[in-house]
């Protein structure tokens, strides 16, 4: 029973706060390299939200995104011993994830995008608007706009989409994107700006970017 209480009490098991996030992550990587699965799963908990959403925006389908995310972490787990500690874990995991997505897109060009229903677990927009208050309407309209942007993003070539994903949503610098994608800095920038212009035109075409 004592052990049970210990497990149920976060104060005793919380990671030491003296460690910075980066140091903590490094420690988990080192432990994972020694075969500690729990340490690796802590890395998973830290990164799964970012990697899943990256995959979802790239692949536009929740099932594919789920598979790509799981494959990313499995690949990282299998090859964690090859990870060199002098580089950032984030660069490494983004590289695996972006390769995973781009490979999937090459093998299986865009599947039909997931619907609003799948994303929000809700029924058709019109049905929900019929009985909703204004707060609910706002939220639904926001979701609908988000869908339009996702669609516009989905219409970009995968390389440009990835550049925008890493820059805008993962908040990487151009230099970091260059390290993740292993392509020259100038190419990263030209892909990003080309994607941005493409997106601008698509959004203007659907009345969202005038």
């Amino acid at each position: 029973m004592e052990e049970a209480l210990r497990i149920g009490t976060s104060e005793e098991t919380r990671p030491p706060s003296a460690l910075s996030e980066a140091d903590q992550e490094l420690q988990w990587v080192i432990e994972a390299q020694k075969g500690d699965r729990v340490a690796f799963n802590r890395l998973v908990v830290r990164w799964q939200q970012a990697i899943y959403n990256l995959s979802l925006r790239m692949l536009r389908n929740p099932d594919d995104a789920s598979e790509a995310t799981q494959e990313t972490f499995l690949a990282a787990y299998r090859h964690i011993s090859r990870f060199r500690l002098e580089s950032k874990f984030s660069t490494w995991i983004y590289r695996i994830a972006s390769n995973q997505c781009l490979t999937r897109l090459r093998k299986k060009p865009d599947r039909p995008p997931h619907s609003l229903d799948q994303e929000g677990r809700a029924g058709p927009l019109s049905e929900q608007l019929a009985g909703g208050d204004s707060q609910q309407e706002k939220s639904l309209l926001r979701r609908e706009r988000s869908q339009w942007v996702r669609r516009a993003l989905g219409g970009l070539p995968p390389d440009q989409r990835m550049a925008i994903e890493l820059k805008v949503y993962q908040d990487l610098t151009f230099e970091e994107i260059s390290a993740v994608t292993e392509i020259p800095l100038s190419t990263v920038k030209s892909r990003f700006y080309a994607g941005l212009h493409g997106l601008k035109q698509r959004l203007q075409a659907c009345g969202m970017g005038d």
């Binding site: 690796f40 789920s66 941005l196």
Partner: protein
Amino acid sequence: MDCRYSQDIAPYLMDDLPDAQRRKLSRHLQQCDICRREKAALEQTFAALGEVQDVPIPHHFFVARDDSRLGLLQAWRRLSALWKAGLAGALAMLLTVAGLSASGFQIEVDQGIVRAGFGPFPSLSPAVSEGQLRVLSDQVLVQVRDKLATRDEAMAGLIREVRLLDQRLQGLDQTQLRRLHAVAADLESQLSQAWRQDDQQALQEVEQWMAQTYADLRLDYLRRLSVVDANLEQFAQRDSALNQQVSFLGEALVYTLDQRQPEKISQ
């Protein structure tokens, strides 16, 4: 109509222009409608990009081992996030409080001597009478039932632990609290059901074994007992694998709870 400076607007907004070029473009923007429109359009594009919010993960992507697509993990993924959180902690506690395996129950066949039970057990020779064996089997059944009763008590303790977990998250809003209470109630009923099934199955297996042993007493009961013994061994091994799975899930739960303080949990 276009302006030769308009292609620099995006790098300008991304702070990706050399200082001199940036200053020049700032001045140019004051007098060029084309570039101002381009800047406004790009700003709207960035605003639109900002409307795409992250969606919650559909399930945890824990890595168990290379054969991570174990049935247990798949079943785990089908559960809702809160249920999982409750269950991971609960299972970790369950393993600690009660233990899942029938580890205490043993049957030994040693040079024709049969031993069965959870603790000190009687022994008898192959020449034993049916009456003696019946006495032995009754003793075993009593022990099995006692063991199961202990497990029931352990489960009640376990439910209390889940409620303690609930109390730890007092900072949550009413909706979240209601959901947690629902989790605890759900957990209680699901575990009770699972345990009842387990218990019934265990009892049935023991009774079936007894019945078969009586029927075949004079033929080959030793062989049959060996089979039961092997089955129990397998059962124990399976529990050991489960134990491993659950221990890291429990760890992950603790980590998740540590990372997600109450104010961050509210969605």
